[in-house]
């Protein structure tokens, strides 16, 4: 069927000259990129390198300023321990942000589930494994509520999770009676809840199970996002939901699974947080929502969805940890740690915008 060449052209003869058109590939005078352009191109190809560079640089600077105290195995493992909870929440947050959404309820979900686990095993007296299972399922259900409101009622994720943040927080105060469950009580009645507070000594380092858990959570999510069809769908939905729908992805199923998985990860964080804090405290992690978003943004995941690697938020959380630890060791007031993280967040997004100019 070579109609195009055999039939005589009608009035559209203007295309005839195409046959004689130049076939060689366009060649341009190569203009030398200056070093800044080179950096920009390099970062565009490897977006996760930004947080990596910031992490390495901040480790170098604080290592230089604080010396061996900073580099001691104990301090390094302490940093890992301190960021473990925010790290797990940042993993959950990343999933939602990759779909171009945002989850303001991750922290409240986590605290609520830790209260449920604590109350069920201590006050109600259920066996601890059952209490933990209920908490994990509850976290998934809480995420499912967000997912339902986003996909079925079609409300913006920001509004949905702003609402559920408050709802989860109120439920948390109600269930706990605004009372903490003390460490001693947990040791007597439900020591399993404090599992992730235990640690293994490794040289001078004290690596808690919670730190290991955080790395495991990231490893599993990395696999799911990069090695399964589901992961490709998450990126496609965040990139262009309409296009994803038309190319045959059940986008609402994907979104629903993302919110539920994020909720489950929050509940895993809840269990870990009991070990980290040592007690079940309804007032803890009040700022965890925003800290998780900070880690994600510093980690180079685009708030517009569909771009970035799950490795980024892990590094983002570590950067925050390194800053806090380094500034404290140097003897800077806590308020300047917060000040520095604020600027770091803005800088991260500015660098991100600068890199993305290349693709537009």
């Amino acid at each position: 069927m070579s109609d195009a060449t055999s039939t005589p052209r009608r009035s559209d003869d203007y295309e005839q000259s195409l046959d004689e058109s130049e076939a060689s590939v366009a060649a341009f005078e190569s203009h030398d990129l200056n070093w800044l352009d080179r950096v920009q191109h390099f970062l565009h190809r490897n977006p996760t390198m930004v947080p990596v560079i910031v992490l390495v640089a901040s480790i170098a600077v604080f290592g230089f300023l604080a010396g061996t105290r900073f580099f001691s195995p104990f301090n390094l493992s302490l940093i890992l321990q301190q960021v473990s909870i925010i790290g797990v929440l940042a993993a959950a947050q990343s999933l939602v942000i990759l779909t171009a959404g945002i989850d303001l309820s991750v922290g409240a979900n986590m605290v609520l589930m830790s209260v449920i686990m604590g109350q069920l095993s201590v006050t109600v007296g259920l066996p601890t494994p059952i209490a933990i299972a209920v908490g994990l399922i509850g976290g998934m259900a809480a995420g499912g509520l967000n997912g339902f409101l986003v996909t079925r009622v079609k409300l913006p994720p920001f509004i949905v999770t702003l609402g559920t943040w408050n709802i989860f927080f109120a439920l948390n105060l109600w269930l706990s009676g605004a009372q903490s469950i003390r460490s001693q009580t947990l040791d007597e009645q439900a020591p399993l809840l404090k599992l992730f507070g235990r640690s293994v000594a490794f040289g001078g380092a004290q690596i808690t199970y919670g730190s290991i858990l955080m790395v495991l959570v990231f490893a599993v999510l990395w696999y799911m996002l990069n090695r399964t069809a589901w992961g490709r769908h998450v990126y496609a939905v965040g990139d262009d939901k309409e296009a994803a729908e038309l190319s045959g992805i059940r986008t609402n199923h994907t979104l629903m699974s993302v919110y539920m998985l994020a909720g489950l990860v929050c509940a895993i964080g809840a269990w870990a947080s009991i070990g980290r804090v040592g007690s079940v405290s309804p007032q803890s992690f009040q700022e965890a929502n925003l800290q998780s978003i900070t880690a994600v943004v510093i980690g180079g995941i685009s708030l517009f969805g569909g771009r970035g690697s799950i490795v980024g938020p892990l590094i983002g959380a570590l950067i925050v940890g390194v800053f806090n630890s380094g500034l404290r060791l140097v003897g800077v007031d806590v308020l300047w740690q917060v000040f520095a993280i604020g600027w770091l967040t803005i800088l991260a997004v500015a660098i991100d915008q600068w890199i993305r100019k290349l693709s537009s």
Binding site: A4, R10, Y223, T228, Y235, E242, A243, L246, S359
Partner: protein
Amino acid sequence: MTQSEPILSARNVVKRYGRVTALDHADFDLYPGEILAVIGDNGAGKSSLIKALSGAIQIDEGEIRLEGNPVRFNSPMAARGAGIETVYQTLALSPALSIADNMFMGREIRRQDLLGRWFKAIDRAAMERIAREKLSELGLMTIQNITQAVETLSGGQRQGVAVARAAAFGSKVVIMDEPTAALGVKESRRVLELIQDVRARGLPIVLISHNMPHVFEVADRIHVHRLGRRLCVIDPKDHSMSDAVAFMTGAKKPPQEATAA
């Protein structure tokens, strides 16, 4: 071209959006091995017709038949499963994902080993190999790197990827919505050749276009859509472009035998 049974047909299809009637008892017939162009003024209901055939919208009344059997597509996935592939005007590609990822979106190949069976790992190497094969079959291997993001391609190359995806997986029908609308002269030519390549492999094509020279060049029959229904079907050899435009805008009454088709 009415020697055989239509491969894809629609009868009395109605689609309403609130008070607006987009399809008003529309009919449609596509025969095996042909290129059927669908033309019509803006708002005539071309897009709704195409979306109904490709499963992107659900019809309120009427019947769609594929190879004589009534079908009901609840989603684009269902239509794809039945062998109908669509190249949308927006292309429906994910810009940040690679060419291979896009071609296999929603039908990724699972690895055969334990990792694939137990942990649902996808077979990247196989998907990239097949994507490269499909693109070369259609002469699109000016694209150097199958793992490059779609956003780094030119408009014509993106169109090529979308056409290749449809041609690679469409087993019965390929629908193309304005495939040349956003392209330059040379790229349009390439896409028209692609369309003919696809037909040469025996796949019938539904081509929606505003570009009369393109329609008259490649179409075997032309379906003229007007006011939400099929006005007539004309043979491009018997009518001129100005006739076609006159029919679709209502400036001229279509011939009796064409409306009966």
